[in-house]
Symmetry: C2
Subunit: 720 residues, 2 copies
Amino acid sequence: MKYRLLTILFIVSCALSTYAQQATWIWYPGDYEIWLGNKMQNRRTEKGAFFPPFWRMDAHYVLMDFHKTFDLAAPEEVEIVAEGSYNVKLDAKMLPGTPTKITVPAGKHKINIKVHNQEKVPAIYVKGRTIVSDASWLVTYEDKEWIDETGKVSDQSGTTWLQAGSWHFNDPQTKPSAFVLSTTLQQPVHTEIKGNSLLIDFGKETFGCIQLNGVSGKGPVTIYYGESKEEALSPEGCETMDKLDINNAAKGPVVTTLSKAFRYVNIQYDPAVNIDSVSMWYEFLPVQERGGFRCSDEQLNKIYEVAKYTFHLNTREFFIDGIKRDRWVWSGDAYQSYLMNYYLYFDEAAVRRTLYALRGKDPISSHINTIMDYTFYWFLGIYDYYTYTGDKAFLQQLYPRMQSLMEYCLGRRNKDGLMEGLSGDWVFIDWADGLSKKGEVSFEQMLLCRSLETMALCAPMANDTAGAARYQKLAAELRQKLFSLYWNESKQALVHSRVNGTPTDNVTRYANMFGIFFNYFNEQQKQGVKKNVLLNDNIQKITTPYMRFYELEALCAMGEQQYVLKEMKDYWGGMLNLGATSFWEEYNPNKKGVEHYAMYGRPFGKSLCHAWGASPLYLLGRYYLGVQPTSPGYKTYTITPVLGGLQWMEGKVPVPGGEVKLYCSTTQIKATGAAGVGALRFSSKTKPVCKTAVITALGNNQYEMTVQAGMDYVVAYKAL
Amino acid sequence: MKYRLLTILFIVSCALSTYAQQATWIWYPGDYEIWLGNKMQNRRTEKGAFFPPFWRMDAHYVLMDFHKTFDLAAPEEVEIVAEGSYNVKLDAKMLPGTPTKITVPAGKHKINIKVHNQEKVPAIYVKGRTIVSDASWLVTYEDKEWIDETGKVSDQSGTTWLQAGSWHFNDPQTKPSAFVLSTTLQQPVHTEIKGNSLLIDFGKETFGCIQLNGVSGKGPVTIYYGESKEEALSPEGCETMDKLDINNAAKGPVVTTLSKAFRYVNIQYDPAVNIDSVSMWYEFLPVQERGGFRCSDEQLNKIYEVAKYTFHLNTREFFIDGIKRDRWVWSGDAYQSYLMNYYLYFDEAAVRRTLYALRGKDPISSHINTIMDYTFYWFLGIYDYYTYTGDKAFLQQLYPRMQSLMEYCLGRRNKDGLMEGLSGDWVFIDWADGLSKKGEVSFEQMLLCRSLETMALCAPMANDTAGAARYQKLAAELRQKLFSLYWNESKQALVHSRVNGTPTDNVTRYANMFGIFFNYFNEQQKQGVKKNVLLNDNIQKITTPYMRFYELEALCAMGEQQYVLKEMKDYWGGMLNLGATSFWEEYNPNKKGVEHYAMYGRPFGKSLCHAWGASPLYLLGRYYLGVQPTSPGYKTYTITPVLGGLQWMEGKVPVPGGEVKLYCSTTQIKATGAAGVGALRFSSKTKPVCKTAVITALGNNQYEMTVQAGMDYVVAYKAL
């Protein structure tokens, strides 16, 4: 295992040495993410009380050794900055004091920097002419190191070295621990003054700190935040609030310290306090919007815009669940964010950060977020990341953490080899009334099966041949079991669970819809599931955008874009009709008025800006524009535009190094290639024409043509 | 395992509820110790460069839940202070904001306090009339916790709760993270001025920060520290130094920031700098000296005094190795300190702190301090702690950490079930020229065997019946192997090692001397070992006080106090003759002059104040005053005074709740009992007389009488 890892690192190391010589702050991979995750996830409050996660939060390693060997043509002066106490070794010899500048002679030399920091993550920044700190440095927390009796430290040992982690801290003065999100001052669209209170409307869902302008006097001020007007106006019911004690002789601004989510704020102030006006500091992660979608349906365009805004608000230090309440990194929620991200920002670092933070450290004592299904989504997210980005090095670095998490899962199977909620496990699936979690739920077995397949795919890339075979075998056995235990021939569907060894009669959508896009069903089963489950109104309906994501994906995967378009307009359009300015955690069209804001038994418990509400970003990119990688990092990919009833649509899908652009009407397709080699696939009533490409007829009105990177294509055709 | 632990905790909890109502700061057991250990162990410097440990340093859990249930006769106001962000739940309902005072109504109520702190250890201080924070609170880092779908958190889960850790922080304002050792200003005994340099002699080995008095001017000042005059006078060779940049317009004191060990300091200053005089801030842990020893031999009295001082200097935040160089917590060194401590301070908390800090956290990736033997001493130290203190609760808390460390060890045995150095393992044994670490060293097998016996003894106390049987079996098998593989019948000794499956011919003292006081030998073997190894000058001599500790202990255990007394006078007296003011890391009487200061290939590499140099404290208490517990916590104990050639001796041995006092000459024994029931055993030529106790003749000139707590006894006898 150790030696295998070292082999990997050498390969990786060579690949990385071609990186541009941009110095950047580096650390132990995952440690900064865990540290920043702790900061972020301990900012939740409820009615002013601190509300931290209810699972183990890990900590960074406090003592770190970084090293790299350089071969220099000429001597070089190198600047060193660190977060923490540190020493520097040149060719294994410790330099005196705490050097901030060293000169490395010409020739082959090894630099080691050892850093201790208990409060913050040990990190270094090194910059010379050619010697720079970057991901090609190796790093260890000294899991073990051999020291011989004469006191010489050698690394001929089992010490595990990983590639250093980094983000975007390219300035020696920009210490990673000082990172904060960007902010910009914004003004309300409406202010209502009543007695000693102000009701401020910022016009749409937003996030940040409130700035009271021209504050003077002495006395208490209370700020009640509301995603809805009703919430802001309910001191008892609102989820978040701030209490300030003002004591300003001269007029001046007062800014709250903890950013919050809101559209409205209700400010109650003491008569002895004066407030001239109210602004806010909008807080956000600067990201580049690389994907896009526009079409002939204005409601759909509006849905896409609001989905983008919803997603942006929830794309922060990490992909979080929602901005008002938890503000935590939840693996199931994040998994959908990764997928949306591939069609909007293609921000690879955000996915890596989130995956690292979620995984935490060994020993594993509970499922990720304590939720069984959320552990499985973590595995799935890694392979998706590799598929979209082609970043094999990340997968290799993470592989040992994948192994130990999978061992944890396998160790929790029952005597029949199935996953069943044990003490401390949360079998979540979805927020749905009366959903049974008893016994062995088919949905969980299906996710474990997919996770095992993921392990089998990743193992060879980490040179774990034996593991690959083992995971493959376990996956195949479980997949077989899934059908022998849960497939109900008369219902033509998988049943929800087995209790006391007996399959129940209950059919739910969950396992059935995942089975579609996991491609676990044969054609007959697929059609059975579609008719008897997906399009069957007697099967309990889904009321969260979270599971609607997969339900609609399953239908899209079966070519039901027309049906899904109508569903999107009804469901997401339904929220817009109710005045939503961002998409919600849950939407049940049968509810009325303020009922919509309630959840978890609290009147305003529901998040009105939830990342999982933004799934049209993914569905429109992947199943309408139809751009999908078919090999890692889009070396090959398909473009399969499906109008689904639209007159026209156009958009962009980000891929490594560029964007695939597409316009599609009922008579014309225009495409611009990027990255690798694309295959444009479409159907046409008439023989399509393209002046710059050969179109192959596949029969049955299907056509295909090759799209090369950087080339524009125009195809005349006639939609079926 | 979980349920077993809970059972333990209930028992423990009940036992603890009788504790006095002293509020104290509490934390997760071991976490503060790990955090403080990081601070302490990252203070080593070498020639001004930061020199941290070369193994993984662990971190505290950043999110902690504390709770206790109280049954109140009347409502009670309770003050709450925490290190970190926190919230308070009363009967599982979160109170608004961050309460610093709460009122708990009469009746049965549960208080939960949840604290997050990434920089420091989450800790709380709670004080009401009867509600106080103490070791009876339970605490978890939420290894897992069940949350049901309505958002209610329940602890009907696998969450592991341990008893809170604490030390002596009984004031709400004395935050644990602010702890520093005590200091007192001291003056040098001699100052030598030469040009722009000062050579200061503090008269004896000491530890602290240098204060330059009346400093003015501008320019550099360098301080070279020396445990010897030669070291201070060697800017190139000295182990530690400080460089200061002075820029004082007006005269004032300048104090160094990092405490150092020294007797001499050599201060070189710029001609533009003025220094009036030099003082030092002596830094120390306040401890109570409860044990003592005095006798008719003045050299031995001096040895005892210097041993006490040596031990005090090395008893700090933890029991450390030596004050000049490593200043780290080394398990093998600490193991001897525990034993000395039982005969001098009986500071139970210091032992617990050190054991916690050494163990660190899971997953285990290397031996403690990377040293195989040091892992085993850790196990031995726990059972000794229990034997001397009777503190079963600590052992129970630690048991899961003992289990996982033992599994680590067992998993590293080779195909023959023996411990052999693997990659990353350091087989230390002792500093000795040419000592072979190849193959399977008998000494390591013996320590593993003893560790397994320790596990077998501790397991039943943690209700691990199956474990007890398993460890017992493994220990018995290994003990049998120790003799079948290593006992050389012709040499009448254990050989040093097996290489390639073949026992070597080499006989060393290590396994043989441990075998004596572990009582592994039969009488014939014992005598063989004594003659052929311990008293055989042809067997390589030991040159560290570290292994002399065990060598002399083995001889004492065989009644050779007279021989050992002479050895002590020669060896420790030898250091005194060379001017030692504290005892050394190594002493080889064959060396000359400054040769004594060299080690590790460096002219002043040797520590002249090493904890393991203080072993006479233990030997004199246990084998001359002869006070030894025979059941945990001195419920029963023996007093077996052995003069070993002295005319008289007197002393005290601390036991839980008091001190056993003893005077013994060749004609009179005076004893004062403490703790449980003592058995005074002695031999006499004549029938001994005691007015207040019945003396039983055991035959063969041996006598025994019972010593009750708090009672004084005078016995007239005649030494053989």
